[in-house]
Subunit: 443 residues, 2 copies
C-alpha cells in the first residue's frame, strides 16, 4: 500500500505543477508546449487535464499532437465537444487529424465545413501522406501573370498568412508561372509588371514528390514556402517551412524510434496492453533471428562440450561483428536517406568500408587473440578467435554496406529492418566461424 | 587488375553524370544539393570536382556542408583561394566555418572583415555552439519603440533580409521590447504608433538557451524568426527558421549516428585511416563490455560442460533482454529529449514500463520455454529458460527506464552511452540468470 500512496502523491503534485504552466502556455497559444505537457501526463491525469482545457484551445492542441495520444483524447470527447471542435476546422486541420478519426467522424467533420474546404480536403486526400500533395496549404497569395506592382500592394494590405515572403503568379489555365518576393514589391514603381521582379530559377514542388524530400527542399530554399503543383502544373497550394519542419522532424523521430522497432507516434503513457502489443511483434521477429543463431550454435554441440572456452568467448565474436556492422549500416542508411549513395558510388563506398573493416578487423583480432590466449592459456584458442573476429568484422562491413542497399531495392525501409537482418548475419557468421574453426583446430 | 579497371570506369561515369547536375544546381545557387553531391563523391573525385567550381560559389557551398568533408576541401585550397573566400565572408559565415578552420586561418579571415562583422563574430564566440547565442543572425529590421507605421514602411522599402515577417522594436538601452508583424504594418494608418500593432506574448530567446530547444521554439512559433537577447535583455539578433531547421536536423542526425557511436559530421568517404580510427574507440568500449559478459559466463564453465544446451540457448536470453530494453530506452530517451520525462512522472513511467515488461516477459517466457522444451526434450531446460527470460525482460524494462535518467543526472548523453550500458546489463543479467538457474536446477 505504501507504493500506491507514493504514486497517488506524485500524481497530485504533477497535476498541480503542470496546471500553472498550462494556464500560462494556453494564454500564449503555445500549443506545441501544451501538447508536450499533455503527452507527459499519465493517462488518468491527462484526461482530467484535458477536460479542463477550454474548447477554443482544443483544435490547436490536437493538431500539433502525436497521433497516438491524440487518438486517446479524441476518444474521450463527447459528440457535443467534437462538434464544437469541427466547427472551427479547415481542410488542413482535418487532413492532420484524419488519421486519428474514424470514418464516421470524418464525414461528420466534413459536413460541418463549407464547400471550398471540403474541396481542399478531397484534393489533399488524393495524395498519400508520404507525398507532398497531402500536406498542401491553401493560405497563399496569388495574382494573374499580367498583374502590376499596384495590384500586389493592394493584395498585401489584406491580412497576410503565416510564412509568406513571395506572391505567386498564375497563368490563364491556373498553372504556376513565377514567384515574386514581397520585399521587392514594396517600394517598386506602381506600374511595373510583376514578372519584371520575378525570381529566377524558383524551385517548384510536384505534388507526387516524396513529402520529406520536398520539405528538405523548402528548408534549404531560404524561402518561407514553395509552390506545390500537380502533374499538369496546376498550382495546388504551397508547402510552408512550418509544415515542412514538422514533416522533417517526424521523419527523424520515425527513424530514431525505428531503431527499436517502435513507431514515432508511440505514446509515452499508452495503455499497458497497447504498448505491450506494439512491442511484441518486434520481440517476436527478434526471437526468430535469435533461434536461428542458436540453431547454428547447436550444430557444434560436440565441440562446445570438448572446449567449453568456446562457449565463454562466443558472445565476444558475435558482438564485435554486430557493432562494426551497425557502424557501416548507420552511415550507409544516412547516405541513402540523403541521396548520397547511388548506383555509381556504391562500389567505391563498399571498397572503402571493406578497407575500414579490414583495418579494424586486424587490430581487434590481435587484441582479442592476445587476451583470449592469456585468459585460457591456449595459443590455439587465441588463433581461432583472432581468425573468427577478422572474418566477422569484414563480413559485417560487407553486410552493413550491402543490406541497406538491397533492402532499398526491395522497397523495404532499411531504417526499420536493416539492423535485424544485419545482426542475424553477424551473429550466425560469428558463431559459425568461431565454432567451426574451433572444431577444426581444437578437437 | 580487373577490379581496378572497374573502379576507374565507375569513377569516370560518376563524374560525368554529376557534373551536368552540378552545373545546373550551381546556376540555381542550390548549394545544399551541391554539397550533397560533393559529399557523395569519393575523395579524389571530390577534389577534382571542387577545383572546377567557381570561386563565387564556394563560400555558399562550404557553409552548408558537414564539417568533416568541409575540412578536407578547405585543406585542399591554396592560401590565394582562401583569401578570395574570406573576402565575401560575414560574421555568420565565419561562425559556421570556424570549427573547420585552424586558428591562424580564422585570424586571417577576421582581418579581411570590417569592424562590425568582427564585432559580431566576437559576440557569437562568447557562446558555446550548444547555445542559442552562437547562432544569432544580424540580418533583422529594428526601430525605436516610439516609431510610427510610416517609419516602418520606409524601412521596408529597403532590401528585406530572408525569413522576415516581423519588425523588432527596441527601447533606449538597446533592449528588445516588442515585435510587429510586417503584415499588420502594410495598410495601417501612417501615424499609428507601432506599439499599437505589437504582438502579444511574443516569444523571446535567451542567448544562453540550449540551441536545439531554442530552434524548436522558432519552428513552433509560426514566425519566421525570434529575437535573441543577452542576460541584460539587450537584443543581440535573431534566430531565423532556416538556421533553426539546420540546427534541429543536425541534432537529429547526431542522435541517429550516436546509436552507432558515430559523429553527425562523419564523412561518407573519409580516408580509411580516419574512419577506422573514429570507429575503433566504439569497438574498444564494446569489447570491454563483451569481455565483462564473457567473464560472467566463465563463472559457469562447469555447468556449461555438463549441460551443453545452455551454451546453445544462451544468446536467446541475452538478445530478448537487449531488444526489450532498447525499446524502453528509446522511448525514454525521446521523452527526455522532448522534456516529457521529468522528476514527477518518472515513477509513473517506470511503473508502466515494468507492467509492459512483465506482460511481454510472461508471454515470451512461455513461448521460449515451450520451444526449448521441445528442442532439447527437457522440461527442466524449458523452465530454466522461461524464468531467465522473464527475469531478463523485467530487468531490461527497469534498466531501459532508469539508465537514461541516471545518465542525464550524471550529465552524460544517454543517446550516446545509453545502449552500451543497457546491453551490458541485459547481457550479464541474462547470462547469470540463465546459467545460474541452470547450475541450480540441472546439475
Amino acid at each position: 500500500m505504501t507504493d500506491d500512496t507514493i504514486f497517488e502523491e506524485e500524481r497530485t503534485l504533477s497535476s498541480a505543477a503542470d496546471i500553472t504552466a498550462l494556464t500560462r502556455l494556453l494564454g500564449q497559444q503555445d500549443y506545441a508546449d501544451v501538447a508536450t505537457i499533455l503527452e507527459s501526463l499519465p493517462l488518468e491525469d491527462r484526461y482530467l487535464t484535458w477536460a479542463d482545457i477550454g474548447l477554443e484551445h482544443r483544435l490547436g492542441i490536437l493538431v500539433v499532437m502525436r497521433s497516438d495520444p491524440r487518438e486517446a483524447l479524441i476518444d474521450s470527447m463527447s459528440l457535443l465537444e467534437l462538434d464544437a471542435l469541427f466547427k472551427g476546422m479547415d481542410a488542413e486541420d482535418l487532413v492532420e487529424l484524419s488519421e486519428s478519426l474514424p470514418n464516421r467522424l470524418i464525414d461528420r467533420a466534413l459536413s460541418a465545413m463549407d464547400e471550398i474546404q471540403r474541396h481542399y480536403y478531397e484534393g489533399a486526400k488524393k495524395y498519400d501522406d508520404e507525398l507532398a500533395g497531402h500536406w498542401v496549404s491553401h493560405q497563399f497569395l496569388s495574382l494573374p501573370q499580367n498583374a502590376k506592382v499596384r495590384d500586389a500592394l493592394r493584395l498585401l494590405r489584406r491580412e497576410l498568412p503565416e510564412y509568406i515572403d513571395t506572391l505567386f503568379l498564375i497563368n490563364r489555365t491556373g498553372g504556376f508561372s513565377e514567384a515574386v518576393r514581397i520585399g521587392s514589391v514594396i517600394g517598386a514603381p506602381d506600374h511595373l509588371p510583376l514578372t519584371d521582379l520575378a525570381e529566377e530559377d524558383f524551385t517548384v514542388i510536384n505534388a507526387n514528390d516524396d513529402a520529406t524530400d520536398a520539405s528538405l527542399k523548402v528548408q534549404n530554399s531560404r524561402f518561407s514556402a514553395l509552390p506545390v503543383v500537380d502533374e499538369n502544373s496546376i498550382l495546388l497550394g504551397r508547402l510552408d517551412i512550418g509544415t515542412a519542419s514538422e514533416i522533417v522532424n517526424d521523419y527523424y523521430e520515425g527513424r530514431l524510434m525505428a531503431t527499436a522497432g517502435l513507431d514515432e507516434d508511440e505514446d509515452l503513457f499508452s495503455p499497458v496492453k497497447t504498448a505491450a502489443k506494439n512491442r511484441a511483434v518486434w520481440l517476436g521477429i527478434n526471437l526468430l533471428t535469435a533461434f536461428a543463431a542458436s540453431w547454428f550454435i547447436g550444430l557444434f554441440e560436440a565441440t562446445l562440450q570438448q572446449v567449453v572456452a568456446l562457449a565463454v568467448l562466443m558472445p565476444v565474436v558475435a558482438s564485435m561483428g554486430g557493432i562494426a556492422g551497425s557502424q557501416t549500416l548507420t552511415l550507409v542508411i544516412r547516405g541513402l536517406a540523403l541521396g548520397q549513395v547511388n548506383d555509381v558510388n556504391r562500389w567505391a563506398l563498399l571498397r572503402k568500408e571493406l578497407q575500414v573493416g579490414a583495418f579494424n578487423g586486424v587490430v581487434w583480432a590481435i587484441v582479442v587473440g592476445i587476451i583470449a590466449n592469456m585468459w585460457f592459456d591456449s595459443f590455439l584458442i587465441g588463433i581461432v578467435i583472432s581468425m573468427a573476429i577478422l572474418v566477422n568484422i569484414i563480413t559485417a562491413a560487407l553486410s552493413g554496406a550491402l543490406i541497406p542497399i538491397a533492402l532499398t531495392k526491395l522497397r523495404l525501409d532499411p531504417a526499420l529492418s536493416g539492423s535485424v537482418v544485419l545482426t542475424t548475419v553477424t551473429d550466425i557468421v560469428g558463431f559459425v566461424a568461431f565454432l567451426g574453426l574451433g572444431a577444426l583446430v581444437l578437437t
